[in-house]
Symmetry: C2
Subunit: 151 residues, 2 copies
DNA sequence: ATATTTATGGATAATTTTGTCTCTAATTCT
DNA sequence: AGAATTAGAGACAAAATTATCCATAAATAT
């Protein structure tokens, strides 16, 4: 559904929201290891998430690293997709027509639109905070290591 | 959601099902133009759909071309995904975990699984015949040309 | 038989995505 | 001020996807 980059972005953001804070920032090494993603590629992805403190914040130097402000934790998960420039995935025609619309719908449109509506809603109503708290509460994973790495 | 290749496969298959028959086979040129896809690439995709007469059938020579048997029209749309080797897309973890499961679910799993269930159902219950008949009945498009190319 | 038509198969090219590496900039600590 | 630490930025490399081209095989028509 999403690109690898966006999948890593989702996992990294939720991980930082749950494990980090402004007082306890997380380094790129820890993040990449925790979510099971290639380190350097993840660093590049973080640059997209941090520009203008869009979703994630970053500070350089000793004790620096990444964190998410309490305010940003209230952003919908969709904000991550937007930062990655992949929010369109939710609006795309499932059969690849240039434009999904009622005017010129593809053969799957009438059925698919009902499903997509729920999908869009999921990404809009769920906040970063809510997803990260799920990790705290129950048995939820952000990476599956050898024996499954629960955080 | 799907690769370009699979999107073309979906459109091509539905188009052939609606416009063609064993008596009136369709050539690759007509198909590619009708669905708005690159001709040569589409030819490659047809090879995946036609091996073992999996979904589409093909015959060479004059008056040759592609068609879909009445039997194959009863296949679920999912059969197209399978021929393209992309059926896994429907089963994938939305956050990119190696395995989507109840044992080690990602933070979005509990909500997403409900949506995915409907998505899978859509591809399983809808047949190629049903989709192509929708084109016949109503105002449904398989390609959006200059002014929208209805077929 | 020969020419014509149409899909098939293989090689190759272009583009996008994924991933790495290194040097630089900012920050902190001593 | 200088050393250490951490993210940022850019060039680069590898892999996957998308796309093109051409020679070949099969079928038909003459
Ligand atoms: S037009 Fe295809 S999903 Fe809306
Ligand atoms: S584990 Fe992520 S969707 Fe099921």
């Amino acid at each position: 559904m999403f690109s690898k980059a966006t999948e890593y972005a989702l996992r990294a953001t939720i991980y930082i929201a749950q494990k980090g804070s402004e007082e306890n920032k997380l380094g790129i090494n820890e993040i990449a290891e925790a979510i099971g993603s290639p380190r350097s590629f993840t660093a590049k992805i973080m640059q997209l998430l941090t520009r203008d403190h869009r979703v994630v914040s970053a500070v350089r130097g000793p004790n620096g690293g990444f964190y998410i402000s309490e305010k940003s934790k209230n952003l919908p998960v969709r904000a991550i997709l937007e930062a990655m420039g992949e929010e369109h995935v939710l609006d795309k025609c499932v059969m690849g027509l240039k434009l999904c619309s009622e005017k010129q719908p593809c053969p799957m449109h009438s059925k698919y639109k009902i499903i997509r509506k729920q999908l869009i809603k999921l990404f809009v109503v769920k906040t970063i905070r809510q997803l990260s708290s799920e990790i705290k509460d129950g048995v939820v994973f952000i990476h599956q290591g050898k024996k499954g790495k629960k955080i």
